[in-house]
C-alpha cells in the first residue's frame, strides 16, 4: 500500500497494461517525450520506447482514426485526446466509427481501444478547455464510458478498459490529477459497470461522478455533522455499462435520490438515472429525485465565476437539507 496521486496512477495504470501486453500501444499529442501536458504520462516513453509510446501531430482525427485502424487489426491502442473538449473536432470517430462498425458489419469487426482524456472544470481555462463531456459519449450506443474519482480506481478501471473488447472513453478529471489516495501494491484490475458505495447512509442517496465524488462525500459529512442527515454516497464510476442495481438498491434503502453532475443541465447522466429511478424505483421514493448540476451555460474562466457554477459541497448540502425539510 502506498499513497499515489491520481496523475501518477494514470502512469502506473498505463505501465501496468503495457508491461502485461505488447499489443498495448499509446499515442497522443505531447504524450511521449514531453510526458503529457498534465504530466500524467511521464516516463512511459523511456520505459516502453518510441515504437510503443508515440507523439503525434495536432491531428485529433488522425489520432482516433489511427487508434481505430490499429484496434481493428490486432493492437490495443490507448489514445490520448488532451482535453475532452477536443472531442468536438474528432467526434466522427467517437460517434460514427468506433461504436458502429461492429454492428454495421454484423459482428465482423472489432474495436478494442481506450480514449483517455482530460475532462472537467476547475482550472480556470474557460469554456473550451473545461467541459464535462461524459453525456456526449453516454448517448451513443456501442461505447463504454468510464470516469474514475480516485487513484486506485484510475488504475483498476484503466486496466479494465484496456482489457475490454469494446471502445472505452476514459475520462480523467483534470482537477483530480493532484489529489492523492492509498493504492495497493501489485496489479490492480477493476470491473467496468460497477458503481461503488463510498459512504453508507440511510436518509438519502447521492450519486456522483469524478470530481463531484469528493464534493458529495464532503457534503455528506457536513449533513451528518450539522443536520443529522445520513447520506449514502454512490460513486457511479461507469456510465456505460451503468450499475443501476447498486443505485436502485441504495434508493430502496434511503428512499431519496440526488445526483451531482458537473455537466450543464440538459441531458446530463443524472437525468437518465432519475428516469430509471422514476420507472423502476418510484414506490421506493419518499420525495422527488433532485438533480444538482452546473447551470445550462458555457463555463466562465474567472475563478470566482467558475467556482459559483460548479456544484460545491455547500450547494449539495443545502439542496439535500432543504429537500429533506430539515
Amino acid at each position: 500500500m502506498a499513497e499515489l496521486s491520481y496523475r501518477d496512477a494514470v502512469i502506473r495504470g498505463i505501465a501496468q497494461e503495457m508491461t502485461r501486453d505488447p499489443d498495448v500501444v499509446f499515442l497522443g499529442e505531447d504524450v511521449a517525450k514531453a510526458g503529457g501536458v498534465f504530466k500524467a504520462t511521464v516516463g512511459l516513453y523511456e520505459q516502453f520506447g518510441p515504437l510503443r509510446v508515440r507523439d503525434t501531430p495536432i491531428s485529433e482525427q488522425a489520432i482516433l482514426g489511427a487508434a481505430m485502424g490499429a484496434a481493428m487489426t490486432g493492437l490495443k491502442p490507448i489514445a490520448e485526446i488532451m482535453f475532452s473538449d477536443f472531442f468536438a473536432v474528432c467526434f466522427d470517430y467517437i460517434a460514427n466509427e468506433f461504436p458502429k462498425s461492429r454492428y454495421m458489419s454484423n459482428g465482423q469487426t472489432k474495436c478494442p481501444l481506450v480514449v483517455r482524456t482530460g475532462n472537467g472544470a476547475g482550472s480556470r481555462f474557460g469554456a473550451q478547455h473545461s467541459q464535462s463531456v461524459e453525456n456526449w459519449c453516454m448517448m451513443i450506443p456501442g461505447l463504454k464510458v468510464v470516469a474514475p474519482s480516485s487513484p486506485r480506481d484510475v488504475i483498476g478501471l484503466l486496466a479494465a478498459s484496456v482489457r475490454d473488447p469494446d471502445p472505452v472513453i476514459f475520462l480523467e478529471h483534470k482537477s483530480l490529477y493532484a489529489t492523492k489516495g492509498e493504492v495497493p501494491d501489485g496489479e490492480i484490475v477493476d470491473t467496468l459497470g460497477t458503481a461503488k458505495i463510498l459512504r453508507s447512509g440511510k436518509d438519502a442517496t447521492i450519486c456522483a461522478l469524478a470530481l463531484m465524488v469528493p464534493r458529495a462525500l464532503a457534503a455528506a459529512e457536513k449533513l451528518k455533522a450539522e443536520h443529522g442527515i445520513d447520506c449514502e454516497v454512490v460513486d457511479v464510476r461507469s456510465l456505460v455499462p451503468l450499475d443501476t442495481q447498486t443505485i436502485l438498491g441504495s434508493v430502496a434503502k434511503t428512499h431519496r435520490l440526488f445526483t451531482v453532475e458537473e455537466n450543464p443541465r440538459l441531458c446530463g447522466w443524472g437525468a437518465e438515472i432519475v428516469s430509471i429511478a422514476a420507472d423502476e424505483g418510484f414506490y421506493d421514493l419518499d420525495g422527488p429525485p433532485v438533480r444538482i448540476t452546473t447551470p445550462h451555460i458555457p463555463l466562465p474562466a474567472a475563478d470566482i465565476l467558475e467556482d459559483i457554477v460548479l456544484p460545491t459541497p455547500d450547494r449539495i448540502t443545502e439542496t439535500v437539507r432543504r429537500s429533506l425539510g430539515s
Binding site: 482525427q61 482514426g65 485502424g69
Partner: protein
C-alpha cells in the same frame, strides 16, 4: 479457340509491352466486366424497387478497383467509401453477398445491418466502407501502423473520391502517414465531380489529390484511371514501396462515373457531350480492344462475359429468393459480448 502459345506468337514482334502477362490480363478483364455487370444489375434492381435505400455506383470507374485489387496479395487490406461495391467485389466477395446487402436481405454481406454504404468483408480483407467523407484515411493509417509495429508485410489501401481531398481528415492522414512512414496507399478516384459540383469549381489546384502530394513530401502521381493496366502497374510500384518500408503513396486516378452521384441523381449538371466523350474511353471498351491486340479471340472474350453474366444472374435470383433479415439480429453485436446491454 486460340491457345496461349498462339497468342504469344501473335503478339511477338507487335511492339506491345507485355509486362502484365496473359493470365493477369484476363483476370483484369474479368474483374472489370464483373464489376460492370454487378453495378448495372444493382441499378436495374433499383428500378424494380428491389434495391432499397441509397446506392452509389462505380459504373465507368471499374479499372481502378480491378487494377488495384489484382495487385494486392492475400492479407492486404482495402478501406472503401460509400461508393464501395466495386472495391468489395474486386477482392473476391461473391456478387450474391453484395447484391443481397443492397437488397437488404438475410443473405447480404452484413445481413442488412449495414447496407450499401458499409460493405465489409473481413475475410476478404475488405475492412469496411465508410460513409463519412475522409473518415477511413486515418483508419487505414492505423491498420498500416499495426503492420509496421508488428512487422507484418500487409499493405493498407484506402480508396476515396476527389471530394475527399478537401476535408480535414485527408490532410491529417497524409501528414500522419508520411511522418510515420506507414505502409499505406491512398487512391483518389477523381471522377471530376464531388457529388453534384465539379471538383474544379471548389478546389484551389487542378489535381485535387496529386497537387497536394508535395505538401506531405510525397511524389505527385496522376494516372489514367480508365486503363486497368496503368492502374495495376502503378499499384505494383506503390505496393513494393510500402512493403520495403519506404512509406505511403498518394495516387490520383483520372476517371468518370457514367451514372449520377447516387441513385437519386440523374446527373443533369453535366455539360452536353461530356458523358459521351468519356464513354469513348470506357475502361471495359479500352480493355477489350487491348485483349484483341494481344490476340485474345472474340469467342474467348464472349466466354468471359457469359460466365460473369451467369454469376450475376444466379446471384440475382438467389437474392430475390432470400428472406428478409430476422428481427432477432436487431440487438446483436452492439457490444463485443454479442448483445446490446448498457446496464445491469
Amino acid at each position: 479457340m486460340a491457345t496461349a502459345k498462339d497468342r504469344a506468337q501473335a503478339k511477338a514482334g507487335s511492339g506491345l509491352n507485355d509486362d502484365i502477362g496473359e493470365q493477369k490480363r484476363l483476370a483484369l478483364y474479368r474483374s472489370q466486366v464483373r464489376l460492370r455487370e454487378a453495378e448495372q444489375r444493382a441499378y436495374d434492381l433499383f428500378l424494380q424497387n428491389l434495391v432499397k435505400g441509397t446506392s452509389h455506383l462505380s459504373l465507368g470507374q471499374e479499372a481502378i478497383a480491378a487494377g488495384f485489387a489484382e495487385a494486392m496479395q492475400k492479407g492486404d487490406l482495402s478501406f472503401c467509401t460509400y461508393r464501395g461495391h466495386a472495391h468489395t467485389l474486386a477482392r473476391g466477395v461473391p456478387v450474391e453477398k453484395v447484391l443481397g446487402e443492397l437488397m437488404q436481405r438475410d443473405n447480404g454481406l452484413m445481413r442488412g445491418k449495414g447496407g450499401s454504404m458499409h460493405l465489409t468483408s473481413e475475410e476478404h480483407g475488405v475492412m469496411g466502407s465508410y460513409a463519412i467523407i475522409g473518415a477511413h484515411l486515418p483508419i487505414a493509417c492505423g491498420a498500416a501502423w499495426r503492420a509496421q509495429y508488428k512487422g507484418d508485410k500487409d499493405v493498407s489501401v484506402c480508396f476515396f473520391g476527389d471530394g475527399t481531398t478537401n476535408i480535414g481528415a485527408f490532410h491529417e492522414a497524409l501528414n500522419f502517414a508520411a511522418v510515420w512512414k506507414l505502409p499505406v496507399i491512398f487512391v483518389c478516384e477523381n471522377n471530376l465531380y464531388m457529388e453534384y459540383t465539379p471538383i474544379a469549381d471548389v478546389t484551389a489546384v487542378p489535381h485535387p489529390a496529386a497537387d497536394r502530394a508535395g505538401s506531405y513530401g510525397l511524389e505527385r502521381i496522376v494516372i489514367d484511371g480508365n486503363d486497368a493496366d496503368e492502374c495495376y502497374r502503378t499499384a505494383q510500384k506503390a505496393f513494393a514501396k510500402a512493403r520495403a518500408g519506404e512509406g505511403p503513396s498518394l495516387i490520383e486516378c483520372m476517371t468518370y462515373r457514367h451514372s449520377g452521384h447516387s441513385r437519386a441523381d440523374p446527373a443533369k449538371y453535366r455539360p452536353e457531350g461530356e458523358l459521351e466523350k468519356w464513354k469513348l474511353r470506357d475502361p471495359i471498351k479500352i480493355y477489350r480492344e487491348r485483349l484483341k491486340q494481344f490476340g485474345v479471340s472474340d469467342a474467348d472474350i464472349a466466354a468471359i462475359d457469359a460466365s460473369v453474366r451467369k454469376e450475376v444472374d444466379e446471384a440475382t435470383e438467389a437474392c430475390k429468393a432470400a428472406p428478409n433479415p430476422p428481427l432477432d439480429i436487431l440487438t446483436t453485436d452492439v457490444y463485443a459480448d454479442g448483445g446490446w446491454a448498457w446496464r445491469n
